[in-house]
Symmetry: C2
Subunit: 335 residues, 2 copies
């Protein structure tokens, strides 16, 4: 049975969403869940659910990392945080994967240092799944595990993202694109131009450069970029989705005070929020660490936590890291 | 009287929108307009408007640059295009500014080569105005005139963007931010970290790093980034706005077949499209060329063309290039 450690203390709605999502995942997916955090708090939440047949256990961790904590400091100073303990459970092979909706920077830093990096990988990458216009999912990586990247790093992102996509979204031959400022091969900056030909030579289905709008067009499944660009892209999407919702709310309230208008706007807004929220797609995996680590959005509700556990269990079951090591070792993409 | 040359052949709705927008601008702003393009086509459109008192003239140009034309090739091969002739009118001081809603790449390339670059400027920058959540406008630059930038280029973008903002949006002390992946000074890539301290030392009101979501938050007025990041950001916004509209249309049509639902969605969609469209804010000026050049979106309607003429006339009237030369010469930001 696959065992997933869940950070019960991270996320805006912790531990409620984390505990509820864990119970749902244990019921639906047949995984064993280790809830990591302050036992009394977790126990109180568990008392609200937990049919006796569900395999959920508590692993104590006394400290909590907040959204305000500085990632590197949180890693160094809070050695008994739920993030630290959860990552160690994976490192020690007690758990097959770790899920957290806490401070993304702190989870990335801690997972990287505690689990370590795969031998064929130079830089880990955070991969964010997005809904696209064709009703499918596109994955953007890296969305912020790194700031400055070498061509070799982007090549590794391409291979890792492709494997993650195959394993998680059931596509046999995902289309891989390189995020740039024009479709022609010569379009792009120094980095993307150095990557283009080498990505074409890799055993992935590389379809060429894509532009910003293709994050949503569904033209490609996996979109490769450096973490600086990817993080800005992700934050733009979140910011814009929020503004669109505010705008709709205002528009409807000002022009139609009626109940009908309000109900309409509520439905549409919920739809947009869900459509834009990568938690609905199982959170963002940190690829390249020696273990499985899936990071949910701080806003994660129980359903998002459940989905993240499902994705983490799927990555563990598929032995994603063995595949990454194998495929990358066949290529010459070490920096 | 300020004279603005307008590319009558560029844009998806040319020459209809260009001619109508020019007539409106001449009436409302007291500018003289030179409509550049194929005289017979322009004359036929003009016949639909043109009260005899409006100062509009036709300047012949036999060739048309399409959206499919390659920028550098269009510049080299179509020497009698409306873009070429329009840029030359500014170069020869027949016109005070040039407005085009045509092929953005071709207009940038042609304007840069024909008008030349200001002596204190290393790289020209395309500045895109966006609506923000506080009901104001934020400007992002560069959105695609360059791909790889040095720190000095970004510093020049900051100074040019600040002056453009002051002249166009009437703010005395616009807040300038640097687009990055976190607010702290140490956050960012090699480029932004090299820019941060030097931007702080310039005579602009630098408020620090901003994130992707701040394109819309209204926290800053001028957002500086390199053209690769800026172009991807712009395309994401356009793509996302389009998807949101499609999503709304589908949501309403599927759940409410009623006339009320459809009307509601139409109004909201139009609002979002207008809110996201920088043409509503007068197009995107190409800053740093020796002349005034404002580029509208291909979709520009008559109102967008009118606004672009207003902005171009305002920049010419304020002698923006003298200000840029003066302020940049006081700083040490030549590459």
């Amino acid at each position: 049975m696959i065992t997933i450690a869940v950070d019960a203390m991270g996320g805006d709605h912790a531990p409620r969403s984390e505990v509820e999502g864990s119970v749902l995942a244990a019921q639906e997916y047949g995984v064993r869940v280790l809830l990591v955090g302050q036992p009394n708090v977790i126990r109180a939440e568990l008392a609200r659910h937990s049919p006796p047949t569900v395999p959920i256990e508590i692993v104590p961790a006394s400290e909590v990392i907040t959204m305000e904590d500085h990632p590197a400091q949180a890693f160094r100073r809070k050695k008994d945080s739920s993030v630290h303990v959860g990552a160690r459970l994976v490192k020690d092979r007690v758990a097959d994967g770790f899920v957290s909706a806490g401070n993304t920077g702190a989870v990335m830093t801690t997972a990287k240092f505690i689990m370590g990096t795969l031998s064929s990988v130079d830089r880990v990458a955070l991969a964010a799944p997005f809904p696209n216009a064709r009703g499918g999912v596109s994955v953007l990586l890296d969305v912020g595990a790194n700031v400055d990247s070498k061509p070799e790093h982007l090549l590794q992102f391409g291979v890792m993202g492709e494997i993650y996509y195959r394993v998680t979204f059931g596509s046999r031959k995902p289309r891989v694109g390189l995020l740039s400022v024009g479709e022609e091969e010569i379009k792009g900056n120094e980095l993307t131009r150095a990557v283009y030909d080498r990505l074409k030579a890799l055993p992935v289905h590389f379809v060429g450069n894509v532009e910003g709008g293709d994050l949503f067009s569904g033209k490609v499944d996996v979109i490769v970029c450096d973490g600086f660009v990817g993080n800005i892209a992700l934050k733009i999407c979140e910011g814009l989705a929020m503004e669109v919702m505010k705008f709709l709310r205002k528009t409807y309230k000002s022009s139609f005070a009626s109940q009908v208008g309000y109900l309409l706007s509520k439905g549409a807004m919920k739809g947009i929020r869900q459509t834009m929220d990568y938690s609905e797609y199982g959170g963002a995996p940190l690829l390249g660490v020696r273990g499985v680590c899936v990071i949910g959005h701080g806003r994660s509700n129980a359903n998002a936590v459940k989905n993240a556990i499902r994705v983490a269990a799927g990555l563990a079951r598929a032995r994603i890291n063995e595949r990454i090591e194998q495929e990358l070792s066949l290529t010459q993409v070490k920096a």
